[in-house]
């Protein structure tokens, strides 16, 4: 079977009006996106936004309901096995085989990709080194920590030397050290030219790893761009956070703002515990607030982040 090579200009993943329904429930509702070779592409969104369903369609394990989808220029419905042969997948749940050892988990996966035992062993050894699990090769999977299991799943997804790696929430549930180790390994893969396609609901992860991302909410794509572009487009440069003292009557002083923040910034958001003021100059806004007689318990000026974009786009009641 001749290898289908995608010209550098043609996208690795191409989706138009891509839709997935489970019965009457629409998980993915007509989304368009392209992922270019060598790119790190992210789906950012809250739980239930349709990220995993999209990833499963790309991974050819979930049939497309309607719309257009090609992976490596191939149709998943026709060439599922050929696509999967060139794909690495890190699913949300670890799905490791508890009856096999760490090394054997990789070996048998190599066999699933039709590698010889010898080749499978060579790659497995190398990959265990790559994810720093060489010492645990003979151990069972069960006693491994969450971070180790995650690294093992990543190693497993690389056994066929994939040119496209799909990662569904690669660091959910990991402690900070473990997350950074995973990020480091993914960054190295990217340097080697592996295309990354990942989902996350962590903003820092999206900022760390993604060249470009789409924000998904309620089965649709609601924004697209690089992390910087999204911040520039949807939020201001800085955010002023004001916290007020809680009174005995369970209201806090912010209930008595009496419109004193009006006109202070282009957008103001009142949360249960604090007030966010979106502005180009946080210090100046804080000074103005003082001048207008507000006495918050604490004041914080920070650079705006992807989190602000995310919350702006996926909803939270706004002060108008």
């Amino acid at each position: 079977m001749p290898e289908t090579t995608v010209p550098a200009t043609q996208p690795l993943i191409h989706a138009r009006a891509l839709t997935k329904c489970f019965g009457s429930f629409t998980a993915v509702n007509g989304i368009d996106f392209d992922v270019a070779p060598g790119e790190a592409f992210g789906f950012l969104g809250p739980n239930g936004a349709g990220k995993t369903s999209t990833m499963r369609m790309i991974g050819t394990v979930s049939p497309v309901t309607s719309g257009e989808l090609t992976v490596f220029g191939l149709d998943p419905a026709q060439h599922g096995a050929r696509i999967r042969a060139r794909l690495g997948v890190v699913p949300q749940a670890d799905t490791l085989d508890s009856e096999l050892s760490v090394l054997e988990n990789l070996l048998i996966f190599g066999r699933y990709f039709d590698l010889s035992w010898a080749e499978s062993r060579r790659r497995a050894t190398e990959l265990l080194e790559f994810v720093q699990l060489t010492e645990r090769a003979g151990d069972k999977v069960e006693p491994l920590s969450g971070g180790m299991k995650r690294r093992l799943v990543i190693a497993r997804s690389l056994i066929n030397e994939p040119s496209l790696l799909l990662l569904d929430e690669p660091t959910t549930g990991l402690d900070p050290q473990a997350r950074h180790l995973v990020w480091d390994r993914l960054y190295r893969l990217k340097q080697r030219g592996v295309t990354l396609c990942l989902t996350t609901h962590y903003m820092d992860e999206a900022e760390q790893l993604c060249d470009r991302l789409v924000v998904m909410d309620q089965a649709r794509i609601v924004a697209e761009g690089s992390p910087r572009q999204l911040i520039d487009k949807y939020v201001t440069r800085e955010v002023l956070e004001l916290r007020f003292r809680r009174n005995d009557d369970e209201t806090d002083d912010s209930a008595h703002l009496d419109g004193r923040l009006e006109g202070l910034a282009e957008r103001i958001e009142q949360l249960p515990d604090r007030v966010l003021v979106y502005t180009a100059d946080g210090e100046a806004a804080a000074a103005t607030a003082y001048e207008r007689g507000l006495r918050p318990a604490s004041v914080l000026v920070r650079r705006s982040s992807l989190e602000d974009v995310f919350l702006r786009l996926t909803g939270r009641s706004l002060v108008d």
Partner: protein
């Protein structure tokens, strides 16, 4: 649905090269704990054979009430050969498959490789056949050592046992793929497997059952497996009867396979 049915008829559609990889996986697991499989698989039929065949046999043989005056040991030995294959197949198709589908989700991991849902089904059915073959051959050796087989045709009881194993494994795997917990297995074993073990002509001729129960025994696959293996073992083969038994087992296995292809797809390809 009809497409699946039609494909079934195409030779080679059942066992693709890829499904062999799934079998390899199961053998890798087996290599780690083969002694435990053999020990737990062999001990039960062996103990039943000695206790019932030799111990209880003293009292049964006294009356010579079995058809043809067959010694009780010879009577139950081929039946136990087949029932142990059924037991192993039923077990393997229940909890371990549930683990792969639902608890550990290792099937889902495998589906991210070029393997497809039907490769998983075919591979694990081959594993059941492997396990049934291995244990049947070992048990056959026990039977021969104890002198419990009158005819050399008893060697053909092994393929009968393997076919019986598949006749149980395929429908039970089909059932497992529809479950989300192991609650149903309790009922399956208590009201399915155990009664079959006890009433399918294993320990006494089904003619001793109440008249209204006999047709029920007839439609169970274990009865056909036991009857076929017994006729071979005691060397009283009736070609027509044997063909009917084999055909019945094959029919159940194929219907089970057909059902399992549907339920596996439904469960794993969503």
């Amino acid at each position: 649905m009809t497409v699946i049915g039609l494909r079934l008829a195409r030779p080679g559609a059942i066992a693709s090269r890829r499904s062999l990889r799934v079998l390899e996986h199961d053998l890798l697991v087996f290599r780690r704990g083969w002694y435990s499989y053999v020990l737990s698989g062999m001990s039960q039929p062996f103990l039943y054979l000695v206790a019932m065949g030799i111990g209880l046999g003293l009292y049964v043989n006294r009356n010579g009430s079995l058809p043809g005056g067959v010694p009780y040991l010879d009577y139950i030995a081929p039946a136990l050969l087949v029932t142990q294959a059924m037991m192993a197949a039923a077990f393997e198709s229940a909890w371990p498959i549930m683990g792969k589908i639902h608890w550990d989700k290792t099937y889902h991991a495998a589906l991210n490789t070029p393997l497809g849902a039907l490769d998983l089904l075919a591979g694990d059915l081959m594993w059941v056949a492997f396990r049934a073959t291995l244990l049947s051959v070992l048990f056959l050796a026990v039977i021969v050592v104890l002198g419990a087989a009158a005819s050399p045709l008893v060697v053909f009881a092994v393929p009968i046992a393997v076919l019986t194993a598949l006749a149980f494994a395929a429908p039970i795997m089909a059932f497992t793929a529809t479950q989300t917990g192991d609650g149903g297995f309790n009922a399956l074993f208590r009201f399915g497997i155990t009664p079959l073990f006890l009433f399918s002509g294993t320990f006494f001729p089904i003619e001793k059952l109440p008249l209204w129960l006999q047709p029920l025994a007839w439609i169970t696959p274990l009865y056909h497996g036991v009857a076929a293996a017994r006729s071979l073992s005691i060397g009283q083969v009736d070609p027509v009867g044997l063909s009917i038994h084999v055909a019945a087992l094959a029919a159940v296995a194929l219907v089970g396979l057909w059902a399992a292809r549907i339920t596996f797809r439904r469960r794993l390809v969503v």
